[in-house]
C-alpha cells in the first residue's frame, strides 16, 4: 500500500513540501496541496472556482517545479488560493486544474506568501511500495 497525502519537511530558512500518491500525477497534486498549507489551512479554502495551467519541461523534476510555479503565478496574479488539484502528464507536458477561491484575509488568515518553488531538495521518484513521491523546498 503506497503512501497518500502530503507533508511538510523542515528547511532552515524556508519550508519543504512533499506529496505522495499511487501515481506521479497524484503526488504532484498532493504536493500542491502541501504548498497551499504553507499559506493557510487547506480546509478553509472553498474549491468553487476552477483555473487551468499548462507547462512543459525537459524532465519530470523540472516539470514538477514548473507546475508549482505556475500555481504560484496564478495565486499571485488572481489573488486566489487553491485547495483541490488534478494533474495530467503526457511525456514532458503537464496540464493541471486547480479549484479554489479569492483570497479573503479575514477568512484565510494567510501566513506567508510563497515566492517560488526551488530546485533545493528537489526529487520526484518511487518508493519501494511502488508509490510516487514529489518534493522540493519553497522560498517564502
Amino acid at each position: 500500500m503506497s503512501k497518500k497525502g502530503w507533508e511538510h519537511f523542515p528547511h532552515q530558512a524556508d519550508i519543504g513540501i512533499r506529496g505522495f500518491g499511487s501515481t506521479k500525477e497524484e503526488a504532484f497534486a498532493q504536493a500542491a496541496a502541501a504548498m497551499t498549507a504553507v499559506i493557510t489551512d487547506l480546509e478553509d479554502v472553498n474549491p468553487k472556482e476552477m483555473i487551468e495551467v499548462a507547462c512543459e519541461a525537459s524532465d519530470e523534476q523540472l516539470l514538477f517545479v514548473d507546475w508549482l510555479n505556475a500555481l504560484i503565478y496564478e495565486m499571485s496574479t488572481r489573488r486566489m488560493l487553491f485547495s483541490k488539484f488534478k494533474v495530467n502528464i503526457e511525456e514532458n507536458r503537464l496540464s493541471g486544474r486547480a479549484w479554489g477561491e479569492k483570497l479573503q484575509r479575514a477568512k484565510h488568515n494567510p501566513v506567508v506568501e510563497v515566492k517560488a518553488a526551488t530546485y533545493t531538495a528537489l526529487d520526484v521518484g518511487r518508493d519501494e511500495d511502488g508509490g510516487w513521491m514529489a518534493q522540493c523546498v519553497v522560498d517564502v
Binding site: 511538510h8 523542515p10 528547511h11 532552515q12 530558512a13 524556508d14 519550508i15 499559506i39 519541461a57 525537459s58 523534476q61 523540472l62 517545479v65 514548473d66 510555479n69 504560484i72 503565478y73 499571485s76 496574479t77 489573488r79 483570497l103 484575509r105 488568515n109 494567510p110 501566513v111 506567508v112 506568501e113 515566492k115 517560488a116 518553488a117 526551488t118 530546485y119 533545493t120 528537489l122 523546498v137 522560498d139 517564502v140
Partner: protein
C-alpha cells in the same frame, strides 16, 4: 558544522583549502560558537560555489550564513567575465535586491509615547502588508518599463520623495544597464498590484530607538545620536523579482550543458557572464533591483504621509538604502591589480569602506552605512564599511540574524498571540495580518543578531556604529 573540517586562520576566519574540483578556497567569517550553529549545508554550498568557473580569490560565507539555494544565504562570490566567469540566479536569490532602508525622524522617545498606538494603527492601515495586499499605484506598460530602468529615481520623479533621498540610495537610486525587454510579461503582470507593498515573511516596517552608540564620530556623520527615533523598512522586489528568479533559474539549468558547465547541483544554475542567457539575466536582474529600490522609495512616501498626519513635526530623512541580494559590477584590487568583477551577495550586505568613490561626499569619509535587520524582539544594527573589509570579502558584511529554527518548529514552540503579548509587555507593538506568521517569525527562531554583528566587527568586515531596538513593528 564540524569545526575540525576547517583550517583556523584567526578566531574569526576559517578556511576550507581547495580539494576536488574547487578552484579557490572557501572562507568562513565566524567565531567557534557561530560555526557550531551553522548547518553543514553551508560547508557544502560554499565548497560548491568555489567550483564555479571564473571565481576570483575565494567563496565566502558571512557570520550569519545558513542553508540557501545553491549559494549559501550569507554567501559572497566574485567572478571575472574574461576568465569565463558566471552569473547565477541562485547566487542572487528569488527576492532580487531585498534590502533595508533606514530613515531618521528627528523625533525623541517622548514624542512617540503619547501617539504610539495611533501611529501603529495608521501605519498598519496605510502600508499594504501581508499576503494578497495590493498597492494603490498601478503602472501602465510604459510606466512599468520606466520604473524598471529608473528605480528610486523614477519614484522621486513620479512624486514619491525628493531628490535629496537619492544621495543616500546605493548607486544614486538607479541601477544602470537594466533592460525591461528581458523581463517577461508574466513578471510584469505579477508586479501590477504590488508596487508599494511590503510583502510577508521576514519583511517588516519598524519604528526604532537608538539605545547605544559605539562610534561617536561615524554616528555623527550618519546624523545619529543616542535616543534618536529611526524607521526601517525591510523588503524587496516583490512579485516581479520572484518571477525573474524563477524563469532564469530554469533557463540557466537547461542551458548549462550547452555552455559546457558541469553543475555540482542543479540549484547552482548559472550561465557565463558573456553568453546570451547571462546577458539576458543581467538585464532582467537589474530591472528587479530597480523595482526593489522604487518599492522602498514608494513605501517611504507612504510612511511620510502617515507621519505628516500624526506627527507633523517629524522630518523623515534618508540615512541609507542598501540591498543584500544582488550581483553588481565593481572594481576590486586583486593581486595588486584593479579588476572589474561581478560580485554576488546572497544574504550579504555591500560594505564599502571610507573613501570609496561610489559613496556620496557626505558619507565618503565615514564609509558606507551597513544596515542589519534584527527580529521583532531583538535589535537592529548600523555598521560602517571598513578599509580592511575591502580586501577581505570584496567589501561585504552580514545581513541579519539568520534563522536557527524552521518555521514549523517555531509554530510548535510559540503561539502568535503570546508572542504579541510578551512583546507588548516590553513596550514593542506588533501589527500583523497573520498571528501564525508572527509565531513563525518569533524572535527565538533566529540566531542572536548581536553575536553575528559582533563577529562582523571583530573580523573587520564592518564596524559597529549604533544599536537600535524596536518600538513598533508592522509585519507583513
Amino acid at each position: 558544522m564540524d569545526i575540525k573540517t576547517l583550517k583556523k586562520k584567526s578566531d574569526y576566519e576559517w578556511h576550507i583549502e581547495p580539494f576536488g574540483k574547487m578552484r579557490v578556497p572557501a572562507i568562513i567569517y565566524a567565531d567557534q560558537q557561530l560555526i557550531k550553529q551553522m548547518d553543514t549545508k553551508v560547508y557544502d554550498q560554499a565548497v560548491n560555489v568555489a567550483k564555479l568557473p571564473g571565481i576570483v580569490k575565494a567563496s565566502y560565507a558571512m557570520p550569519d550564513a545558513h542553508w540557501g539555494y545553491g549559494f549559501p544565504i550569507g554567501g559572497v562570490a566574485a567572478f571575472d567575465a574574461e576568465q569565463g566567469g558566471v552569473i547565477s540566479a541562485g547566487g542572487v536569490g528569488f527576492d532580487i535586491a531585498c534590502g533595508v532602508r533606514t530613515l531618521r525622524t528627528g523625533l525623541v522617545p517622548g514624542d512617540i509615547k503619547p501617539i504610539k498606538e495611533r501611529l501603529a494603527e495608521l501605519l498598519a492601515r496605510k502600508i499594504p502588508a501581508g499576503v494578497g495586499s495590493r498597492g494603490k499605484i498601478k503602472l501602465g506598460p510604459k510606466q512599468m518599463d520606466e520604473m524598471l530602468t529608473g528605480g528610486a529615481r523614477w519614484a522621486v520623479k513620479a512624486g514619491y520623495g525628493n531628490e535629496e533621498d537619492l544621495r543616500y540610495v546605493e548607486e544614486g537610486g538607479t541601477i544602470t544597464g537594466a533592460d525591461p525587454n528581458q523581463v517577461s510579461d508574466y513578471a510584469k503582470k505579477r508586479q501590477h498590484d504590488e508596487v508599494g507593498t511590503l510583502g510577508s515573511g521576514n519583511h517588516y516596517l519598524e519604528l526604532q530607538q537608538v539605545i547605544e552608540v559605539y562610534d561617536d564620530e561615524i554616528a555623527k556623520a550618519y546624523g545619529l545620536k543616542k535616543d534618536d527615533i529611526t524607521l526601517s523598512i525591510h523588503c524587496g522586489s516583490r512579485g516581479l523579482g520572484h518571477q525573474i528568479g524563477t524563469e532564469f533559474l530554469k533557463r540557466m539549468v537547461t542551458s548549462a550543458s550547452s555552455y559546457g558547465l558541469d553543475l555540482p547541483e542543479r540549484e547552482l544554475a548559472c550561465a557565463p557572464i558573456n553568453s546570451p542567457v547571462g546577458q539576458s539575466y543581467i538585464g532582467a536582474m537589474r530591472c528587479g533591483m530597480n523595482c526593489a529600490l522604487a518599492n522602498r522609495q514608494v513605501l517611504t512616501h507612504l510612511v511620510r504621509k502617515v507621519f505628516a498626519e500624526i506627527l507633523p513635526q517629524a522630518r523623515l530623512t534618508l540615512l541609507y538604502d542598501v540591498s543584500h541580494n544582488t550581483c553588481q559590477v565593481e572594481e576590486h584590487q586583486v593581486n595588486g591589480r584593479l579588476q572589474k568583477l561581478f560580485v554576488h551577495r546572497k544574504g550579504a550586505t555591500r560594505a564599502f569602506g571610507p573613501g570609496h568613490p561610489s559613496l556620496s561626499p557626505e558619507l565618503r569619509q565615514a564609509g558606507q552605512p551597513v544596515l542589519i535587520g534584527g527580529t521583532m524582539g531583538t535589535a537592529s544594527y548600523i555598521l560602517a564599511g571598513s578599509k580592511e573589509g575591502m580586501s577581505l570579502a570584496f567589501g561585504s558584511a552580514c545581513h541579519g540574524a539568520g534563522r536557527n529554527m524552521s518555521r514549523r518548529q517555531a509554530t510548535k514552540q510559540w503561539q502568535g498571540r503570546d508572542v504579541v503579548r510578551s512583546l507588548a509587555e516590553r513596550g514593542i507593538l506588533i501589527r500583523s495580518p497573520s498571528l501564525r506568521g508572527v509565531a513563525e517569525e518569533a524572535p527565538g527562531a533566529y540566531k542572536d543578531v548581536s553575536a553575528v554583528v559582533k563577529v562582523s566587527h571583530q573580523a573587520n568586515l564592518a564596524y559597529k556604529v549604533a544599536k537600535l531596538v524596536p518600538l513598533l513593528c508592522i509585519k507583513g
